[in-house]
């Protein structure tokens, strides 16, 4: 008896042990420092291979798009490859003048255009031609893609960038003997990004919207969900409105840079075969000279309380989809870990309730997924459910079945085995993330910026561990209420089909 009991206790303690070991192990290898200009650095030594991964994490994202300039934060992701005052140009001083002329002509063009119907058509046409000419002349100084070419040539891999609602990241990896190249190129860009080929790249961003939203049923539904659920908060905008993208200006980008790309708003992560002292020396050399600037404000809009279910439909010929979201508080709220556990109970693996009921047993869905935090967690956001109905089964049927499961979470306590399983999976999930430089280089600054400390990556498990069946029930009752819900789904296109009557 005694020994059996002991064994159980030990087993339960093991995960904590593991977690503590991991954290201690990690702390030994992590070096943090902040430059006098406010830029923060996290360096993790991993000497498994002679490579190094870099991640530049800017604490500004799509939510920070100025009014009328949706997708501005996203434009930066596209400008990283355009180079600097020394990379990507044949003659910077001449190019700079040419770029200024583009802006001047564009200003005039916009002024005339703003007159609407009263605009002088001839003048407009002339200005348009002049603008085209100015852009072409600025382009004549461009060394296309020099910035990315250098990285390629030196063996860089995985060069890319991403814009989330809350932040923007830029990343790639290099053989570790090329570490200084990253410092040089990145520091120049962050010191002084050049918005060359801005208007071509604007077309590319517009094209990206066509791909991700306009030509994709899921993309359209996602956009509809956010725009329906949020009235005031900028989470309402997914990738930017077409008309606003088409009107973005380079001079606005510069203003955005000045405001949001202050060194104190940026965290750099370096993970791999490096010596922290050297990283610090190079950080000081390359980034230390970027002057400090005031930190930007955070978003002031607070989404007003939802007073009733919201619903919207998308007419389409595509097969059906259902998407819904419940409003939930931001990631620093005490209920945050409970939402993670609830999402796990609902849709993790083959034992998630939604999979078991809707996919496996009732066979009314092809896939169902729950997401605890959408689109991002810095501000109040959505707990989402995404459902792909099985052929021959309707959105309505699936919607009802999902509600029945959510009701069960409210009315019955989740059993201990399920709760433990979800927690174990979260823990194991963390361990499985620890073996890649690029993964770690993106995780460390994420936790550091979003939760205030990279250690939350480990210590957050304690909060998950504390979640009880009562918590799950309480949170389900509190948030999964009809009037807190937004539902969007497809309906068949109303235009009549060819089927004729006889």
């Amino acid at each position: 008896m005694f020994s059996a009991k002991l064994k159980i206790v030990l087993l339960a303690a093991a995960p904590f042990l593991l977690q503590a070991q991991n954290l201690q192990e990690f702390e030994k290898r992590v070096t943090e420092f902040t430059l006098p200009n406010g830029m923060r650095w996290i360096v993790l030594e991993r000497h498994e291979a002679p490579t190094v991964a870099f991640n530049s994490f800017v604490n500004a994202g799509a939510v920070d798009d100025p009014a009328g300039q949706s997708s501005m934060a996203h434009m930066f992701e596209h400008m990283i490859g355009k180079g600097t005052t020394t990379v990507g140009t044949t003659n910077w001083s001449a190019e700079q003048k040419a770029l200024q002329r583009v802006e001047d002509v564009y200003d005039k063009f916009e002024q005339e255009k703003r007159k609407g119907a009263k605009a002088d058509k001839t003048a407009l046409k002339q200005l348009e031609a002049e603008l085209k000419d100015a852009i072409e002349s600025a382009n004549s100084y461009v060394v296309p893609n020099e910035f990315t070419r250098v990285i390629d040539e030196q063996g860089g891999v995985g060069f890319n960038a991403g814009t989330a609602q809350d932040y923007t990241t830029y990343f790639y990896s290099l053989p570790s003997n090329k570490t200084e190249l990253w410092f040089l190129l990145t520091s120049e860009w962050f010191r002084r990004p050049v918005f060359r080929e801005f208007y071509k790249e604007r077309d590319v961003v517009r094209e990206e919207r066509r791909m991700r939203v306009e030509s994709s049923t899921q993309g359209k539904l996602m956009e509809l969900l956010m725009a329906t659920a949020f009235m005031a908060h900028p989470y309402r905008n997914m990738i930017g409105w077409a008309s606003e993208i088409e009107a973005l200006r380079a001079k606005q980008a510069d203003a955005f840079y000045q405001k949001y790309y202050a060194p104190g708003n940026i965290t750099m992560a370096v993970v791999g075969n490096v010596k922290p002292a050297e990283i610090k020396r190079m950080a000081e050399k390359y980034f230390g000279t970027i002057p400090a600037r005031a930190l930007p404000p955070s978003v002031s809009a607070v989404e007003p309380e939802q007073e009733g279910e919201k619903r919207a439909v998308l007419e389409t010929n595509s097969q059906p989809f259902l998407l819904m979201g419940y409003k939930r508080p931001d990631q620093n709220h005490a209920d945050d870990p409970v939402f993670d556990v609830v999402a796990g109970i609902l849709s993790s693996g083959r034992t998630g309730l939604l999979y078991k009921e809707l996919v496996r047993d009732k066979r009314i869905a092809l896939a169902v997924q729950a997401g605890a935090t959408f689109p991002s967690g810095k501000y109040d956001n959505l707990f989402v459910l995404f459902d792909v109905p099985q052929a021959g089964h309707t959105v309505e049927e699936n919607e009802k079945a999902i509600y029945a499961i959510l009701e069960r979470l409210k009315n019955e306590k989740v059993d201990e085995a399920t709760l433990q399983r979800v927690k174990t999976k979260v823990r194991a999930g963390l361990i499985r993330q620890l073996d890649s430089n690029t993964g770690l280089a993106s995780q460390l600054p994420f936790y550091s910026v979003m939760y205030g400390d990279w250690r939350v990556m480990f210590t957050g498990l304690k909060d998950i561990e504390k979640v009880t069946a009562d918590d799950v029930q309480r949170v389900a009752k509190k948030y999964f209420a009809d009037d807190n819900r937004t539902v969007v789904h497809t309906v068949k296109e109303s235009a009549p089909k060819q089927e004729a009557s006889r």
Partner: protein, 703 residues
């Protein structure tokens, strides 16, 4: 130095940068002057292989970084072995092998057991290999290995999970026309490889319906035996210990089969041309063009990979620079020389662009292909492409598990262990002349197939600018219909008598046969999610075969013509040949014309079979079928048939009523149509005009 200063002060003015612009900028050297330490040494773990007595090959790799153990077995099988009438068998076997549980445990029991310890065991079969993998925390490795072994040796393929997997595959077929990228990739591969062989054929409902549990068991038994697989395990263990475990678990597995034959060769012939898949709910065209690619073992592969890299391999490539960066025409554009281990891959240039600029973008991309075939690349381009491969080489070895899976892959496809270093040497040796030579030799403009998925009405230049356009049929072929009711001479005789009774009921066969043409005017109310919608329709038909439908809808007039040979479709957007799904619908419409069905017994192409006491099924040689239920007086009371809509096959029931006499024949004046069990339309015939002397000429005349 002065120049730089001037530039800086200008920048402060023009870009409203704070006046305290950093003077220290100047101390930043050019990247060209950076000196790097020596290239890092590549450390390659030594991973010896051993073979069990039953022929199973095993690799073990210790890796103590994290408290995890994982592994997978690579099995010589693949969907290339699917039987022609059971496409999907390999995939279903791969799925149900795990979900269907083992002899002693159901799939659900495995799910719980594994997920309780955050572990997984998964199975799948792809094109040219099968895979069973597991992942476990170190502390649970014994339990998880036991399940891994149980699934591998004792899969039970329970029927309920097969049913589920089949239903899911069917659902995925019904969804395959939703994503433009999927449509493109599927059709491009089908066109280049040809649809008559496993590399290019397409799974349909019918194939899935043909697959039974016994087929899965037979497929599994044929391929899952120890001598036909390679197992690799890596993670936090001691090698000797793990070896003992593996030997214990798999050493006694005695399953044996004949050696698995080679995969079928690619036999495709070039299929050049321009192909269009029309998808009207997008604002962007997805396109690909290309032809067959090659194999990795081709000695020219290193030069080809350098060539393809310069052409379309990433942010520095010509396609990216010119189509995306310079022209701003595309978000995604790329090109690659597809080479695989054991058969030719695809040479494929792909991109997406707004509908309007479809042709310009394809042409811009094409001109890059032509350019790389006709002129040498620059020194810098060659250098960038080579350096990027050589300098990033270290990333091939940045984790032990990459080395392990590469070793397994080489072993599986029979490649030398040092293949990657041969490739490295080949890249090193590649010259500008090599690039031009392989581009000329391997890129064949005359073989190029262009495939576009998009909304042609929005193209500024028509796709025909690129050549004659072949429309891709996106319709999903109907599931194998419920087998035709069995017929024998007795049921055929009863069928004939039922139809003849109907002929009597409506006025007699002679009167029916005397009708050479009709014009029918219909007022229809269609049910839509937005409420009722009015439509007017005129149907004109001639016994000689011509059939014309005119529909007046709120957004314009649609006219369709079909006479068994030619067809056209006219809408406000113009006149065109019917897309295949519309044609299919029109053929069905024509078959179901009252005067054709009523004399079905006289049509040599059709059979009339009694399927119930008071119902017949009329079927054509093409496989179309209509069931007619008669009322007690012999009049048709219900037509049932399958119609192919945009959403896949739908069961349609149409109920005629209000029979009134016109020229001595009783004709229905009201029809209610239900689709998929829901009311779709209610139609009232305002007029039947018989034998008004229609001519083939006026019926076939395009508006």
């Amino acid at each position: 130095m002065k120049k730089v200063l001037l530039a800086l002060s200008l920048s402060a003015l023009t870009w409203a940068q704070p006046a305290a612009a950093p003077a220290k900028v100047m101390t930043i050297p050019s990247y060209k002057s950076l000196k790097f330490g020596p290239a890092p040494e590549i450390k390659i773990p030594d991973i010896p292989m051993f073979t069990l007595a039953n022929g199973m090959k095993v690799y073990l790799l210790e890796n103590h970084e994290l408290p995890l153990v994982s592994g997978f077995a690579l099995v010589r099988t693949g969907n290339l072995f699917d039987p022609k009438d059971k496409i999907g068998l390999a995939e279903l076997t791969g799925t149900v092998m795990r979900s269907g549980g083992t002899k002693s445990k159901t799939g659900e029991q495995l799910d719980e057991q594994l997920e309780n310890v955050a572990a997984s065991v998964e199975t799948s079969i792809g094109e040219s290999n099968g895979r069973i993998g597991f992942s476990a925390l170190k502390e649970n490795v014994d339990d998880v290995l036991a399940i891994f072994q149980d699934v591998m040796q004792n899969a039970e393929f329970r029927q309920d999970k097969l049913d589920l997997a089949k239903q899911q595959l069917r659902s995925s077929i019904s969804r395959r026309n939703d994503d433009p990228g999927d449509i493109l990739n599927r059709n491009f591969a089908e066109i280049v490889y040809g649809r008559d062989n496993p590399y290019g054929w397409r799974m349909e409902y019918e194939h899935i319906d043909n697959i039974k549990r016994d087929d899965l068991i037979a497929f599994y038994k044929r391929y899952f035996f120890p001598a036909n697989m390679i197992l690799a395990v890596q993670g936090d263990f001691a090698t000797a210990d793990m070896r003992a475990k593996i030997e214990k678990l798999f050493g006694s597995w005695s399953a044996k089969q004949e050696p698995v034959p080679a995969f079928p060769p690619v036999t495709a012939k070039p299929s050049p041309g321009v192909y269009l898949a029309t998808k009207n709910d997008v604002t962007q065209t997805n396109f690909s063009f290309g032809h067959l690619g090659g194999e990795l073992k081709d000695p020219n592969y290193p030069a080809l990979s350098v060539m393809a890299d310069i052409l379309g391999g990433g942010f520095s490539s010509r396609l990216f620079k010119n189509v995306r960066t310079k022209l701003g025409l595309a978000y995604s554009v790329s090109g690659g020389w597809g080479a695989t281990y054991d058969h030719p891959g695809l040479f494929q240039v792909s991109g997406s662009t707004k509908s309007q600029s479809t042709v310009d973008t394809i042409q811009a991309a094409q001109s890059e292909v032509n350019r790389i075939r006709t002129t040498e690349v620059t020194d810098q381009e060659l250098d960038t492409a080579k350096q990027s491969v050589l300098n990033s080489f270290v990333f091939f070895f940045d984790s032990p598990s990459k080395t392990l899976s590469r070793l397994m892959t080489y072993e599986y496809y029979g490649y030398p262990k040092d293949f990657i270093f041969q490739y490295q040497k080949g890249v090193q040796a590649t010259t500008k002349a090599d690039v031009l030579r392989v581009a000329k030799q391997y890129l064949k403009p005359e073989d190029i197939a262009i495939v576009a998925v998009g909304k042609p009405a929005d193209f500024v230049k028509p796709l025909t600018t690129l050549g004659p356009v072949k429309e891709i049929d996106l319709s999903i072929s109907e599931p194998k219909k419920a087998p035709a009711a069995s017929s024998d001479s007795a049921s055929l005789a009863r069928g004939r008598s039922l139809i003849q009774k109907a002929q009597q009921a409506v006025g007699g066969a002679d009167k029916l046969a005397a009708v050479k043409d009709f014009t029918q005017s219909v007022e229809a109310a269609l049910t839509t999610p937005q409420g009722s919608l009015k439509a007017q329709q005129t149907n004109q038909w001639m016994r000689s075969g011509a059939f014309r439908q005119t529909q007046q809808l709120p957004f314009g007039k649609i006219q369709a013509y079909y006479d068994g040979k030619t067809n056209w479709l006219a809408s406000p957007q113009g006149v065109m040949e019917m897309p295949p799904p519309v044609l299919r619908q029109m053929q069905g419409e024509k078959m179901r014309v009252f005067f054709e069905l009523m004399l079905a017994d006289r049509n040599p192409e059709w059979t009339v079979n009694a399927v119930a006491e008071n119902a017949v099924e009329i079927s054509s040689k093409q496989g179309d079928r209509v069931r007619i239920d008669f009322d007690s007086s012999g009049l048709p009371a219900k037509y049932s048939y399958q119609s192919m809509g945009m959403q896949g096959p739908t069961a349609v029931v149409s109920t005629p009523s209000d029979y009134r006499e016109v020229s001595g024949i009783r004709l229905p004046h009201k029809v209610v149509i239900e689709q998929g069990g829901q009311k779709f339309a209610e139609a009232t015939v305002s007029e039947w005009k018989l034998n008004s002397g229609l001519t083939a000429e006026e019926l076939s005349k395009k508006p």
